[in-house]
Symmetry: C2
Subunit: 471 residues, 2 copies
């Protein structure tokens, strides 16, 4: 039995309303396979609409496989809804995802004193230059590159990155060795996809950078935490069966110690002996506050076992999501395929903008300005820590990056919690160990704060520490 009721006021056309109501009746089971519909003329008369409107609806229903329209005969419903019992599994993700922690919550307001590690000052981003270059590139980039650029990255950017790496990190690489990624996280992800089988073991630093470790876990591999001492990763403690090692040699995350050259040579020898691959995550190395070389593993490697990962997050903006990797030729075709199948390509216009910025010297100037500014903040921070926190904290020597770490004799969790309540946002060392443990150390990022804010923040922190009578 068909009842159609047209809405005179709504935005939907007659054919659409007729179609919808018949469709709903079929899906609800009140019209069944074999049921006849009135002829188009009849229904049109009944609804007081044109026969064309009914015909259109019937034609759609024919195209949708719902109606058999026979010339000279009434139309007949062709299909009914099959009774289906939901015998199948409920929709659920693979089990491993339940074990992985949720991404860190986005702050809903900026902390008053932001000592978080790895947070750069967004006010130092060269906004006007960037916008000017964006307008230029959007106007001049060939249309074909706005439709489809090379999955390995925009050609000019790969060239600029190779040149920059030669100058700043002594890497002898060609543009063909560079693959542009959406930040260093994606670089690690792509490497893991190309090299790791489920169950493969991966050595990661402990304490270390949780998202790298978790990235391996999420692909079914098994990260193994390896201790870090004053010379960096303790190479002798890497299990023999690791297929990959992820390290941050220039500025170990989170401790800040550079890996000693002796340890680097040991690591390269280990990888060679075991047939393993090293992922060198140089996330912070563009900001180096020493003349000491801090030579990348990549530049010391004799046999192409090092994949170098870099990022523009700290020196431009994290949310530009621009990073890269440098890989041996044997891996590049697979990495290009993995990048293509993951997300086709990194956005091309932003790549072209960065290429220009690197090539025309703007980046080098920008980096010098950053270096001065962050150097001043870092110097002040270190001085105050030595002067006012010498009884509580011992600075870990470091030479680069956007944060320093200080070790403590006692658990700093009570101080961290009290500080956060007072608007001072700090990480503790315990946030970066696996499993998370007591916080015998603090991280002090100096990227997001002015020198005044650093002074004030540390003064407040000291006051909290004293008030609480913390040791």
């Amino acid at each position: 039995m068909l009842e159609i009721c047209l809405d005179q006021e709504g935005p939907l056309s007659w054919p659409l309303q007729i179609y919808r109501q018949i469709r709903t009746a079929i899906m609800a089971g009140s019209l069944r396979a074999g049921d006849s519909l009135p002829s188009t003329a009849e229904l049109a008369r009944h609804l007081a609409v044109s026969e064309d409107s009914v015909s259109a609806a019937y034609q759609w229903m024919g195209a949708e496989g719902l109606l058999e329209c026979r010339t000279g005969a009434s139309a007949r419903i062709r299909t009914g809804v099959r009774e289906v019992h939901g015998t199948g599994d409920p929709v659920a993700p693979l089990g491993l995802w339940a074990d992985l922690p949720k991404p860190p919550a986005r702050l809903t307001t900026a902390p008053e004193y932001d000592f978080r590690a790895g947070v750069p000052d967004t006010h130092l981003f060269p906004r006007d230059t960037w916008l000017r270059l964006l307008a230029e590139q959007l106007a001049t980039m060939p249309p074909r590159l706005l439709v489809y650029d090379d999955p390995r990255g925009h050609a000019d950017l790969r060239t600029s990155i190779a040149a920059r790496l030669h100058r700043s990190r002594e890497l002898r690489v060609r543009a063909a060795d560079v693959l542009v990624t959406n930040g260093s996280q994606q670089a690690v992800h792509l490497v893991a996809r190309v090299l790791l089988r489920p169950g493969d073991r991966v050595a990661v630093e402990n304490p270390g950078y949780p998202p790298s470790r978790q990235s391996f876990t999420s692909l079914g591999a098994e990260p193994v935490g390896v201790r870090v001492d004053s010379e960096g990763l303790v190479v002798d403690e890497i299990p023999d069966d690791c297929r990959l090692v992820h390290v941050t040699p220039a500025h170990q995350f989170p401790l800040g110690v550079p890996m000693s050259l002796r340890r680097k040579l040991d690591l390269l020898a280990w990888a060679r002996r075991r047939g393993a691959v090293i992922v060198e995550d140089d996330y912070d190395a563009e900001l180096k506050f020493t003349e000491r070389p801090l030579e990348p593993l990549h530049s010391l490697s004799p046999d192409g076992r090092v994949i170098y990962v870099g990022s523009f997050s700290k020196v431009l903006l994290p949310m530009l999501r621009l990073g890269f990797l440098v890989a041996p030729p044997a891996l590049m075709p697979a990495l290009a395929k993995a990048k293509y199948l993951t997300d086709v390509c990194t956005p091309s216009v932003e790549q072209a903008v960065l290429a220009r910025f690197l090539a025309d010297g703007g980046f080098a100037d920008h980096l010098r300005a950053l270096h001065d500014e962050y150097g001043a903040r870092r110097g002040l921070l270190i001085d105050i820590l030595a002067r006012d926190f010498g009884d509580v904290l011992t600075l870990v020597p470091s030479e680069a990056g956007l944060h320093v770490t200080a070790r403590a004799e006692h658990d700093m969790w009570p101080l961290v919690r009290a500080a956060r309540r007072a608007g001072i946002w700090l990480y503790s060392l315990g946030d970066f160990t696996d499993p998370p443990n007591s916080a015998h150390g603090l991280l002090f990022g100096y990227g997001a704060m002015s020198v005044e804010a650093i002074e004030e923040g540390l003064r407040n922190l000291r006051a909290i520490h004293s008030q609480k009578g913390m040791k």
Copy 2:
């Protein structure tokens, strides 16, 4: 035996030169563990530099673990290079990557007549508006969102997309159901990572979109091609053990046929019975050239088994890499983790720009303009194909998108090859079947060409066909 030779002209400081040359000697084995170095005073005198320069170099070598510096005694080399034989495996990607095809080559020049499917007109991109919104967002976005935005997507954009989907596709979804991705390719990738174990079988359309199929293969799953007929995917031929089905119901890629409602209901019932998940890739549905509803599977699904995937590639620019997925609540936490561990987040400024563009009505206006322009091109293309190619090609009915497909009685490869040599870039149906087969059909994209170019290109194509005496 230590020989140091300083370069007076080069850019490197004395300490750096001294350090480098001793380091090189150690790595080359000409200095060995236990060897003594001259005292700082002695070496300074010998090189005619200040003792500070030598001290700095020695200190670095101490920090690098290479030198034992003892007060009152000469410094001694602490480590030598361990002889290492490369007993390990060479660096090589997993075997599955060798079997996957290379990404399509980037065109080095634009084809004169560009009939490729899925290529929009970059000249229609609203460049000035986009740049204005970019400048606004860069100036006004809170710094915290330039450092770290929600991995699920910028809040305003998720809201705008949910609202847009309700209006244009009748999806009843909340912002919380939306996850922003770097284009639809990444959406498919994330879904596959969250749901598929190695070896899991996935039903894909055949002919279909190769990068989706390959994305499943690259994660160790096993795509199974399922036939497509005039009502879309032939649901009865889906193997029972498939855990996932990837379909393009609004505009089947590459054929263009919309999936009939009858087939949609069958597919939903199948998924429910088997406990499977459907990925509905609605890549082209914003450009619809019919009043017929083409209702998304998602809007018909009673039990949350459909993941809806959308993209702004065709209606803005492919290389913006902006897309999204809509997933049931049971999957969203895992998808957010997968997105975070893949690349942290889609670039935030561009997300905020798109959110504004959607919210302030600019997008709706833009889409109307696209609709008129592409509608005119499409109409002309279809008319010419009917008029001039009726003896060779039969158009496949379609209602949406940026290309049409025409079937042929004979293999069209000779024509495709000859056309490409003459600057007419066409895809054949054989490019999208698995395994690739003879080309009994052609795709005609109308996104990248003016009406004049379409007329001229088809005239030339007809001439090539006639000259060659092709059937």
